[in-house]
């Protein structure tokens, strides 16, 4: 390849990477945690005030609740599992019609159970928003609300990300064979970081290509559909998903005549062996289009959505009326479409694949962080061999180093603080959700301000210690909850919930190790670097070597 192309694509890689890198760090760090959204939701769920009805008694529950609140018949859920974040056995949601369809904060949740004398008890419940808050940070690169304009911003970042991926490969291609298996650990730190950046980038390239393309689709699919509808589909797209009208106008049906949930589950499992149902979603059960979606997962198959897939059954006859979204039973074109979702959301292969995505996601975050470090390192002013003073580093280099440290570690600290805060706020003031955004953003912007005030080297060390401390506070909070029940907190002992605590322990150790390494470099590393504590700190302070620098 002509070296000119390499030079041109290196410029593309540099500038797309610098613009998108920090936003992508947030998307990938929050996204790695979102792989385990359900364990996080279970960890953050207050102990259920509403006992779950036994599965055998659910027909009675459904009949009583629909008699008391006929509106619930539109769309309600029967949970088959007894996990911490699910109150009662039956639940439904009422959405604000004016809110964005992806905005979960405006949804009101209801749950129902049977009390001792068999009467329906319906309550408004407030499931913890923690896991969906972290998911929102992931979906809109750290912005507070998942709305159309914010998704468009994310889409621009995703386009830059795709450009950065292709250009990075073009730059690396001529020397790929020579460089790929070389991790030159040694005195040349920049060489080592570049080797590591290249290895991680090439090894996880398929993962990143999938993420970039799906993210662009998630941002702009509405717009693409609108254009294609008018140009290609002749305005018929809106009717593509309509089911044919029922042949006879059926009278209002009596939900008491529906098959029991356990029977519906048995029918779904008989239709698809290996499918593990987790919940039943009933829709329009009193109307002619009554349907129950038996949602679940099949670790041996591709799931079309993050929560799994479903078989659509007629709740009165138990007949399977749709398998377009059933893992392992989809038609080839539907499987093809589902695989995009599954490849983005780790909805295949079960828990081992989720852990793989967790690691790939964190590796991705590291990739963007290291990219910024390489930009900084390439613009380093070296101390002349002949001696003389230590040159001050360029102002733009100091700014970018501080921004990288502040934004990336601000996101890490902010997420840990909001996880911890969700439990404490519930115990102390009751309403935890109102505190999530203030906690995250005050921590996030506080870290950025601190990084600019102190400079990258010193702020890097202290912010890494803060990340270690706030992450360690996650399992410590669970310990405190057990030791001091008066604080009105809780600690669940399910493997999922304990897994959150243990992962946080490992994370805290990792941040602590990084903090020690950063402190060592700040103390003993080469003084002609933004990572040296001997460089000037805050941006307002005078530069000590200003008179010596080249120009």
């Amino acid at each position: 390849m002509r070296t000119e192309f390499v030079r041109i694509y290196k410029a593309v890689h540099t500038w797309t990477g610098i613009i998108a890198g920090m936003a992508l760090f947030i998307a990938f760090y929050a996204g790695a945690l979102t792989v385990f959204k359900e364990p996080l939701a279970r960890w953050a769920a207050p102990p259920a005030a509403m006992p779950a009805v036994a599965l055998e008694d659910t027909p009675q529950l459904i009949a009583r609740v629909l008699a008391a609140d006929p509106m619930a018949a539109r769309d309600f859920t029967i949970h088959l599992t007894d996990t911490e974040q699910v109150p009662g056995r039956m639940g439904w949601q009422v959405r604000d019609p004016d809110a964005d369809e992806h905005d979960e904060t405006s949804v009101r949740h209801y749950a129902a159970t049977l009390d001792a004398d068999g009467q329906a008890r319906i309550e408004s419940v407030h499931p913890s928003q923690l896991a969906s808050f972290i998911d929102v940070l992931h979906r809109v690169v750290g912005l507070p609300v998942d709305s159309d304009p914010n998704r468009w911003v994310m889409g621009i970042i995703a386009v830059l990300y795709a450009l950065a991926l292709v250009s990075g490969v073009v730059v690396l291609l001529p020397s790929l064979v020579k460089d790929f298996f070389a991790l030159r650990v040694g005195r040349n730190l920049k060489r080592m970081w570049l080797d590591a950046h290249n290895v991680v980038g090439i090894v996880s390239l398929p993962f990143h290509l999938v993420m970039a393309l799906t993210a662009v689709v998630f941002a702009y699919h509405d717009g693409i559909y609108v254009v294609q509808d008018s140009v290609i589909h002749d305005g018929k797209w809106g009717t593509a998903f309509q089911r044919p009208p029922p042949s006879t106008a059926a009278p209002t049906r009596d939900p008491a005549a529906m098959l029991p949930p356990l029977e519906l589950v048995a029918r779904a499992k008989a239709f698809a062996p290996g499918f593990e149902p987790t919940l039943l979603q009933y829709q329009q059960v009193t109307g002619p289009r009554a349907v129950v979606r038996v949602w679940g997962k099949d670790a041996a198959a591709v799931s079309p959505r993050a929560r799994g897939g479903f078989a659509a059954l007629d709740p009165y006859s138990g007949k399977v009326i749709g398998n377009d979204f059933l893992p392992g039973r989809q038609s080839t074109p539907n499987l093809f479409i589902s695989s995009f979702f599954a490849l983005h959301m780790a909805a295949f292969g079960g828990t081992p694949v989720q852990w793989m995505y967790f690691v790939l996601g964190l590796a991705g975050a590291w990739l963007f962080y290291s990219g910024n470090l390489l930009w900084v390192e390439s613009r380093r002013r070296k101390q002349p061999r002949s001696g003389g003073g230590v040159p001050a580093q360029r102002r733009d280099v100091r700014l970018l180093a501080a921004a990288t440290v502040g934004v990336c570690l601000g996101c890490v600290c902010g997420i840990s603080v909001s996880i911890v805060g969700s439990k404490w706020a519930y115990g102390l003031v009751g309403d935890a959700d109102a505190w999530l955004r203030p906690l995250y953003y005050s921590c996030f912007f506080g870290c950025i301000a601190w990084a600019f005030m102190r400079g990258a080297a010193r702020a890097g060390v202290s912010l890494l210690w803060l990340a270690a401390a706030s992450t360690l506070a996650i399992p410590l909070t669970s310990c405190v909850a057990v030791l001091m029940p008066g604080l009105n907190m809780w600690a669940h002992t399910s493997p999922s919930s304990l897994g959150v605590d243990m992962t946080a322990c490992v994370g805290a150790l990792a941040f602590g190790w990084m903090a020690k390494a950063a402190a060592r470099r700040a103390r003993h590393g080469a003084p002609d670097s933004v990572w040296s504590g001997k460089q000037e700190g805050g941006l307002g302070e005078g530069a000590p070597g200003a008179g010596v620098q080249a120009k």
């Binding site: 002509r2 000119e4 192309f5 292709v166 662009v216 689709v217 702009y220 693409i224 290609i232 797209w237």
Partner: protein, 93 residues
């Protein structure tokens, strides 16, 4: 490398990027339209989704490859011809 035998490559950042963005979009929509026309037997719900998923890979592929053209003018000419040909084929079908 035989760098001396080639004319130098012009950067033309703006015109190449615009060519990639604009003509990449035309190419992507034209190809997705051709796909939809040629698979008219597939249910619209499935065909439409596949056609939508085709757009970003083609669009971004063109956008990220556009800097290989030796000048912005050549990018516009080649991509423009390809886009016109495919769009024409789509409307003729």
């Amino acid at each position: 490398m035989a760098g001396s035998s080639h004319p130098p490559i012009q950067r033309d950042w703006l015109s190449k990027t615009l060519a990639g963005l604009v003509l990449g979009a035309v190419l992507a929509f034209a190809l997705s339209g051709l796909f939809s026309r040629l698979n008219a037997g597939m249910p619209l719900s499935v065909r439409g989704q596949l056609a939508m998923w085709m757009v970003p890979p083609i669009w971004l592929g063109v956008l990220s490859g556009v800097y290989f053209f030796s000048s912005g003018l050549r990018a516009w000419l080649w991509l423009g011809m390809a886009a016109a040909g495919l769009a024409g084929a789509f409307y003729l079908l």
